[in-house]
Symmetry: C3
């Protein structure tokens, strides 16, 4: 085999490995959200987002890391942390396209109560990411409670489209 041919196969393989590493890096961002908000690590929660990053839910719209930091430090979130809360992200369907990526996933919030642990919320999540000089960051996350509302279905069907 010619060196040139081997080099081409090799460069292709490097790209495939890079895609797998990107996948792992994106999962890591998603799975870092719970540990950040459940421990009050407000800076770490904010740092998952890009400067223009948006977190939109049924209850609020947070614009940029500073809003995320403020939410984590709010009385409401601090009360949940003291009570015992777990923001658990289920494994997503991920699509990567160059320096952009999306992920669709379920999430559950569990709360500790006098009667043990309760499922507080089950939601559909649409995550959007982009690759910055400092690594992958969240550019947008939309969270909709799964209670029959069409908005939650609109998110979930996005898992069924094209494949990366």
């Amino acid at each position: 085999m010619e060196n040139a041919e081997l080099l081409e196969r090799f460069t292709t393989l490097e790209g495939r490995v890079k895609a797998l590493e990107d996948h792992v890096a994106i999962l890591r961002l998603i799975y870092s959200w719970g540990p950040a908000v459940d421990t009050g690590s407000s800076d770490a929660a904010g740092a998952l987002f890009d400067q223009e990053g948006v977190l939109e839910s049924d209850l609020s719209r947070l614009d940029g890391p500073a809003d995320v930091v403020a939410m984590v430090e709010s009385e409401g979130q601090q009360a949940l942390i003291g009570q015992g809360c777990a923001h658990v992200q289920s494994a997503p369907v991920v699509n990567i396209d160059g320096d952009r990526a999306t992920a669709i996933a379920y999430s559950q919030v569990y709360l500790h109560t006098e009667d043990g642990h309760q499922v507080w919320r089950v939601s559909a999540n649409q995550w959007e990411f982009h690759l910055t000089p400092d690594g992958w960051r969240v550019s947008r996350r939309v969270n909709r409670v799964i209670d029959g509302q069409p908005e939650s279905h609109h998110i979930l069907v996005r898992a069924l489209g094209e494949r990366s």
Copy 2:
């Protein structure tokens, strides 16, 4: 180092990367099930299965994509979707052997009710896949509720066998 030796190492590495990509593709099939059935995307749910694919549970046996499509479009499933349901698949133990693969995993179904979200079912799942010209497809899935029945244990112990 000789070119021949490098080529051999390189070909081995290509195979290892392919195995990792297969793993990701199989996870994607599993994690697509919930978004398909929770949104009534019947064609997408059916398309996860091979033409001879079987979905067997405590309640029913579905033969081929057409049966899966019919189940998703049934009154029962449509009622769950309207109420708000989430079929969440936990991360599996996967074994890949050429163009065949298996996965063992837990799954949970959450339902939205007037009292918030409830855990409706927790099950053991045995997935079997094979690689078709169009990519990986489900050839068989067996789902057994975890309620102490030996059938659920028979599935779960399969996670503990040989490693790929």
Copy 3:
């Protein structure tokens, strides 16, 4: 391009693939725990741990595989298995450093009851692994219930540190 330069890029790539494979192997250990303890496969549960492996929780401290085996065979665990229990591990944040690795993850235990499935415990988990001649093994696992106690927070914040 010179053969020497290609060889260097190639060796680097082999290392990156090895890191991805290590990641998969570590996930497999974590996801094998539930199937082992939920089916009473005491030897398989013990074999996940190194000879010096420790499993520490709010309730007990198990030293080495023999203690793990005894716990799985205990009356208490056998009763849970008969009732129907599911020890589900959520996807972790993993850090690998040579032949050592750590993972931080949530876990949930579901129990089957007359009123359906209940969330029995939601916990924070700190896993430590090392690479033995027989593959990756658990050297330490600490499990703390998420009920507002600082010990659970001390575990979860470890997910937010350095990245591998």
